[in-house]
Amino acid sequence: MPKSQRSVQVRISIGGEARTLSIPAGSSAGDLLKSLGLLREEYILLKSGHVVYEFETLGEGDSIELIRAFSGG
């Protein structure tokens, strides 16, 4: 299988910093957090301003904003 079909590119933004990331095709929002070493307990994912369900599969070109639920203060 060609490499392009085995992974998808998503754009993520955390705390105002954005970058593009390659993740295995079929990865869910929860998988993305795991691959970043982040806790599901601490982060909420937004796509186009809407909360993303933990089991939702992310697609090529998705732009995901990660919000930390515990900002402190």
Binding site: L39, S71, G73
Partner: protein, 302 residues
Amino acid sequence: MCSVCGSRARYFQRYSGKSYCGRCFTRSIRRRVWREVRRNRLIRDGDFVLIALSGGKDSTACLDMVHELERRRKVELAAITVDEGIEGYRPAGIQAAKLAAEERGIELHRVSFRKEVGLDLDSIIGKLGDASRACTYCGVLRRWILNRHARELGADRLVTGHNLDDEAQSALLNLIRGDPARLARSGPGYLLDHDKFVPRVKPLRKIPGKETLLYCLFRGLEVHTASCPYSEYDMRNEVRGFLNRLEEERPTSKSSFLSTTNRLARSVGDEFRGVKLRECDNCGEPTTGKLCKACQLLSTIP
């Protein structure tokens, strides 16, 4: 699919195993908060309720729910916001608090460290030369100011937005610090009573912090989400990380821990039930000793 209505799910609540759409989620949170308020008589019909509003997710979500009681004419409601004087952080929160109060037609009282104690928090920390003490000074002075203003405004209850995470962290910190008296006071009930002490109540104490933010997102509430620059120095940060890792692996850990420590607090409470509050020799605010904690801390500033 949403476990309640079958529409598209937006949130999986790991500790209950249920999925929710935004609408059913916010409904379930409101129901749980009303239950907590009713069971523990946190707010009574006819009360004048003052809510401490920082503009963050917790106090804004709390205001949104308590405002419902005012709309049903069950309580009278006002808000108070404290400007601690933290450059680059506090102004945005105050703006969010102002907006939240205005949108609901609620009177917002604004007080500041500078006006109340003559110094803002940045100046206090500058004089102390130790940022690791910021949260202690901030917390003690904020509670001191809030109690006095709540009393002067004639409030029956001072409502704060403390959530499950805040409560579990405090309980663990009290255990680590070996402070059973504070642990005994940490439950929903109150051991201390004094004419000058306005009972503080926490309707969100069983709602995880992540869910108060989700509530705000689903309800479209504008909140201030930036981090306080002093929070990185607080030991609470380490405790928060520990509890979150535990919850990630074993959902329900935080609520089980809090419920157990609350039971312990009730048992330990008998030991401290007879403690009488008196007035601070310096400022007249209620305290257990000769000087209240705020006056003690203020006297240490060079």
